[in-house]
Symmetry: C2
Subunit: 335 residues, 2 copies
Amino acid sequence: MYGPGDVRVENVPDPTLKHPTDALVRVVRACVCGSDLHPYHSRPASAEGSPMGHEFIGVVEETGSAVSTVKTGDFVIAPFAFFDNTCDFCSEGLTTNCVHGGFFSTAQAEAVRVPRADGTLVKAPVGEDSALLPSLLTLSDVLITGHHAAVTAGVNARTTVTVIGDGAVGLLAVLAAKRLGAEQIVLMGRHKTRTDLGLEFGATDVVAERGEEGIAKVRELTGGHGTHTVLECVGHLPAYEQAYGVVRAGGVISRVGVPQYEEAPVGPSTLWRRNVTLTGGPGAQRGYIEELLPEVLDGRIQPGKVFDRTVGLDGVPDGYRAMDTREALKVLVQP
Amino acid sequence: MYGPGDVRVENVPDPTLKHPTDALVRVVRACVCGSDLHPYHSRPASAEGSPMGHEFIGVVEETGSAVSTVKTGDFVIAPFAFFDNTCDFCSEGLTTNCVHGGFFSTAQAEAVRVPRADGTLVKAPVGEDSALLPSLLTLSDVLITGHHAAVTAGVNARTTVTVIGDGAVGLLAVLAAKRLGAEQIVLMGRHKTRTDLGLEFGATDVVAERGEEGIAKVRELTGGHGTHTVLECVGHLPAYEQAYGVVRAGGVISRVGVPQYEEAPVGPSTLWRRNVTLTGGPGAQRGYIEELLPEVLDGRIQPGKVFDRTVGLDGVPDGYRAMDTREALKVLVQP
């Protein structure tokens, strides 16, 4: 990516092992993320450009001498962050905050160097031709991110839920909330093909209106009080404003869209007076992949339905464009 | 209160019952709150003035026809909010957000009309001459508020704690954190007589420095990472800035000082990237009083030690001044 709207496909040197804890993974499927659209809009132009992509599944090609849990030929899922899975934070389940961790940023490519491969990579018993590849790929980011929103918000059978955003994360937050037992799930989104998929994933109500009008609609659907939990899956300030508008007193807003702002209202009239909790963050927790993988493998959940277009590497620039114009919901990349 | 620094003692008509659910309570003890100092600094001057005070214990003088749980002569504790204790929010324990609720604002007085008396008032088996009165009075606000900070932050035996603020709420947040089992409790405050009381209540470390220096000190005390929980008991923006500076990744900031700001940093570089949760709010939950009262009665906890000056109603203006200049920690009012 060289600047706003400027995505190019280039030949770069193949990645190589740098540390004994590294693995090289040949990418079988990658994709374009809603969060990639933020730099696509606003990253300053640069002569060097930056590689992009943080979601991939693939086959291990080579491992460093210290890697013991995966070997050449293994089919693996990589979360969007890497981590050692042994530090204090990882032990508490917070692998995105590993003291030896970081985030992937070169996955829209043919191969990726994976640091801390033992901690990071999760094996999946499938072949490269599996029909499950799209669903497995969601374990790299959008499914675990939607799940993180639902888990951190405390969704359960007794909580009502609003999901803000009908992108892939929002739709999979619906799926995650349904899976955790929520009985009322209001999806705020205005793209009918997407919200239809949300209904399939378990949304009970769809609110297409935004801002004050949308807030009034959600309150109307919830006895005037709003929902116990709000899963904010966008990242822009107006989405956050909707979130505190629809959250019930004593409720929780979980933000998993990367916030495109630093300052926001959190004082007496928005959060504090009503004892509203604000939580969320990056959700690349290894434990989520381990928890959800069996349900993907046996088809109980089908998160791969969020992919509605497939491109080769050459098609990635057009994939960004298609997601940006909302022509495509989520673009699968098959290198 | 007629404006900044302008507190007057006046004769006003006695309160009377307005609704069948009201009770009249003769105030035996009231006090001046740290949160009263916010309007003492910045409330616009007015010709009418506003009554003040939201903390009191006393004796029921008269009850409305619908009141059944308290009767004339009962000694009662009033939390700083009133509530019906039967609505959906009250049933969930969130009595501060009762649909029929509100906050007291006339308690620095001889008598108070208590709406929703059945829901609001908690009986205490003591006489007007009990030595426990100061400790019982803390159940009206400062103890339950400190407890609310600790509970909402999720303090337990496995969490480290920073308490920001050495006012009465901060010191009782220390006591509450200790009571919930926390083994490391860092108290940030710079008034030695107060932090000494904090040490008596269970603080393990005191950090007198503020801002970046204070943050560095807390991190040094906690292996570089900060504490799992931060109890923000001040309400000014710099205290919040300290809070996100000392909170551990994956940790929780609970704010119980009334925020004197609406906007604050909550984006990727302060909360989001590190999965930090922001919680808190007004903590006048009836359940807290019921939970803590037995321990006050049997002397297991002695929160009344925060009172270091007693005045009559005539001494209230000087009580504000003494708390504002930090000459007094917390001023007891004996009408």
